[in-house]
């Protein structure tokens, strides 16, 4: 076997040769995990250690991963440490205002280069032996280089591994794979639906400072799938007490109207999905309160959004939209929580969440977004608490052999979505649906089985 010397900083994502080598999961096995026709899913997708290892390489090594928002790092030298899959990375604003992303690993002996969550730096010095890197991730100083190193030591070859970085309307994504499509191609026809949150005003969005992190002992796919495809849990029983918590005093749960009209979208490529109610603001009121709901549906800003997005329906009528950009970028337009589901083994996920607001929103609206999202969608959030409860229990039940043997039902809306809705482009079905979930798992399976972007690409 020839081992390529990879001291250079270019990365090729998943190595096509690796696809043939693993005996534990053949392509055939992986393809059988989802049966779109019958509408069944093999729950080992959430538990298997070998699948998890492959996933780190084939999915997280090749997909565009959400790192944060441009305004997390506004000034030159501002940086944020985060992850792409289990790989720690540093996102740094350069002197020329561009962004760089590189592995948070010192190629000398592997130490974590930067051990803080973020801040402003002039350079990064490894705390092990003092190798120093500039903001661009170039190795610029090696202690005792001339006294101690050797003739073929070349500093320019020993910077950390770099990732590609691109942004979509403020959100920053990175990708290890030089052959992957551009971010815009990757987002496919999902951008139309992302714009409901990201492009309501020419001013764009900005982040409310602070990244909230917490740990849920469950596979990341439960969270990604739910934000992609599951309005069903919100419209039935999961979040009833969250709604209760947001009712004006004196109003009962039975007085509230849970919406029934809405749609779900499955991206034509890429595993992205979204769903939303149309018209009925009751649930949004319970989540975000009257001030934000008014801002969203009936204000100067809503008028402007209507012009900017080109439709009243898109700007003011969509309620409680949920969305996932495959694999781990999820957000709720209108509620404006954004998060990356960071995989931590098959049985654990870290949530890294932040909130965005229209950059030109009035201060009191920004403040209300801050208060309401931390009240509802956060570790202590009256909605989010109950999601954690469900996913943890599913994961725990899946310790059982019989439990893992029983395929899950993923039939909802099968064969009922289609192109042709007059208001919403792409493949559209009823709001309670698992079409987008089938899309997400289809993309996962494709990335797990197809070595080349030639077949995989959009």
């Amino acid at each position: 076997m020839t081992v390529e010397k990879t001291k250079t900083r270019l990365n090729i994502g998943a190595d096509p040769r690796e696809f043939q080598k693993r005996p534990s999961w053949t392509n055939e096995d992986i393809l059988a995990l989802l049966d779109e026709e019958d509408g069944t899913l093999d729950p080992r997708i959430y538990t298997d250690e070998d699948l998890y290892r492959l996933e780190q390489e084939r999915v997280f090594g090749r997909a565009w991963i959400l790192l944060g928002h441009e305004t997390h790092v506004p000034k030159p030298g501002d940086f944020l440490t985060t992850y792409m899959g289990e790989d720690p990375v540093i996102l740094v604003r350069q002197k020329d205002k561009s962004l760089r992303v590189f592995l948070n690993q010192c190629p000398h002996r592997g130490m974590r280069i930067c051990r803080t969550d973020g801040g402003n730096a002039k350079s990064f010095t490894c705390s092990y032996h003092g190798w120093a890197y500039d903001l661009g991730g170039n190795l610029i100083n090696v202690p005792y280089e001339s006294e101690a190193f050797c003739s073929d030591f070349n500093k320019s070859e020993w910077g950390p591994t770099h990732a590609r970085v691109e942004t979509y309307k403020g959100l920053v994504f990175a990708n290890w794979d030089k052959n992957a499509p551009t971010l815009l191609e990757y987002l496919s026809d999902a951008t139309y639906y992302m714009d409901h949150m990201l492009d309501r005003t020419p001013a764009g969005t900005e982040v409310i400072g602070g990244m909230q992190k917490w740990v849920i002992p469950c596979n990341w796919k439960f969270a990604a799938e739910q934000f992609c495809s599951d309005m069903y849990h919100a419209g039935t029983v999961s979040h009833l007490s969250g709604i209760e918590a947001g009712l004006p005093e004196g109003m009962e749960l039975s007085d509230t109207k849970i919406p029934t009209v809405g749609y779900q979208f499955r991206a034509k490529w890429g595993g992205h999905g979204t769903g939303f109610y149309v018209g009925e603001p009751g649930m949004m009121l319970a989540i975000m309160g009257p001030k934000v709901t008014e801002y969203w549906t009936d204000s100067e800003a809503a008028n402007r959004a209507e012009k900017h997005l080109g439709s009243a329906e898109r700007a003011r009528q969509l309620m409680v939209q949920h969305m996932t950009v495959f694999p781990t970028c999820s957000f709720l337009p209108g509620i404006n929580t954004v998060r990356t589901w960071q995989p931590r083994g098959p049985h654990e996920t870290e949530i890294w969440a932040f909130t965005v607001v229209d950059a030109d929103a009035p201060e009191e609206v920004k403040e209300e977004y801050r208060r309401q999202t931390l009240r509802t969608f956060s570790a202590g959030g009256v909605f989010e608490q109950d999601d954690g409860e469900n996913w943890v229990e599913i994961q725990s039940v899946l310790r059982g052999h019989q439990a893992r043997k029983r395929r899950f039902n993923i039939q909802m809306g099968k064969g009922r979505s289609g192109v042709g809705n007059k208001d919403f482009p792409g493949s559209i079905g009823y709001v309670y649906n698992e079409e987008a979930a089938r899309g997400l798992y289809r993309q996962w399976i494709r990335m797990m089985t197809e070595p080349s972007w030639e077949t995989l690409g959009p």
Binding site: G118, I208, V215, F354, S378, G380, Q385, E389
Partner: protein
């Protein structure tokens, strides 16, 4: 009201009877408050929050020593774990008491241990600022265990209730940056 007593107690090293008895009173308040939470007497606990309560838990972050002072805690206009007024807290109370509040139904078992109680300052004739430390143990369902530790910075206000005080302000500095639990469905 016991203004004189409050004044006396906040003087460091003061071992006058007034000071000792106020210290005792404040500690008793915390022990009884903890008991309300741990025995699930939530309605009584929520009644201890005063009208203008700010129940606040900023996010803590890992920073270099140089930037720590400036950046360790998220600020007032940034994201937090909690930043509630009374209306928001009353909403949490409704969720907690609800039959469909899955994250606390069945209920967690908790134990709040409060110590290192220091009366820091007398803010007015009826208000004390008090610092204390806590360890909160939570056990949930079959085998979930969470342990939280941290500091509480309270403003306690004299009140005509059984415990003698209401909480006018509570800032919680939790000793975790990433919250090592699936949720924060409990109170500190």
């Amino acid at each position: 009201m016991i203004d004189e007593k409050m004044r006396a107690a906040t003087r460091q090293g003061d071992i006058s009877l007034e000071a000792l008895s106020l210290q005792h009173e404040v500690e008793q308040f915390y022990y009884r408050e903890a008991l309300l939470l741990d025995r699930h007497e939530f309605n009584d606990w929520f009644d201890l929050l005063d009208e203008d309560i700010r129940y606040f838990m900023p996010i803590r972050t890992n920073r270099t020593r140089r930037e720590q002072k400036k950046l360790e805690y998220t600020k007032d206009n940034e994201f937090a774990h909690f930043d509630d007024d009374l209306t928001m807290m009353r909403g949490r109370q409704r969720k907690l008491m609800s039959d469909v509040g899955w994250s606390e139904n069945p209920a967690s078992r908790t134990r709040h241990i409060v110590g290192n109680v220091l009366i820091e300052e007398e803010l007015s004739a009826s208000e004390l600022s008090v610092v204390s430390s806590f360890i909160v143990y939570r056990n949930r369902l079959e085998r979930q265990v969470d342990i939280f530790a941290g500091e509480r910075l309270d403003v306690l206000r004299r009140a005509e209730n059984e415990l003698g005080f209401k909480i006018a302000k509570r800032t919680i500095h939790i000793d975790q940056s990433t919250i090592l639990s699936n949720n924060l469905s409990l109170f500190f």
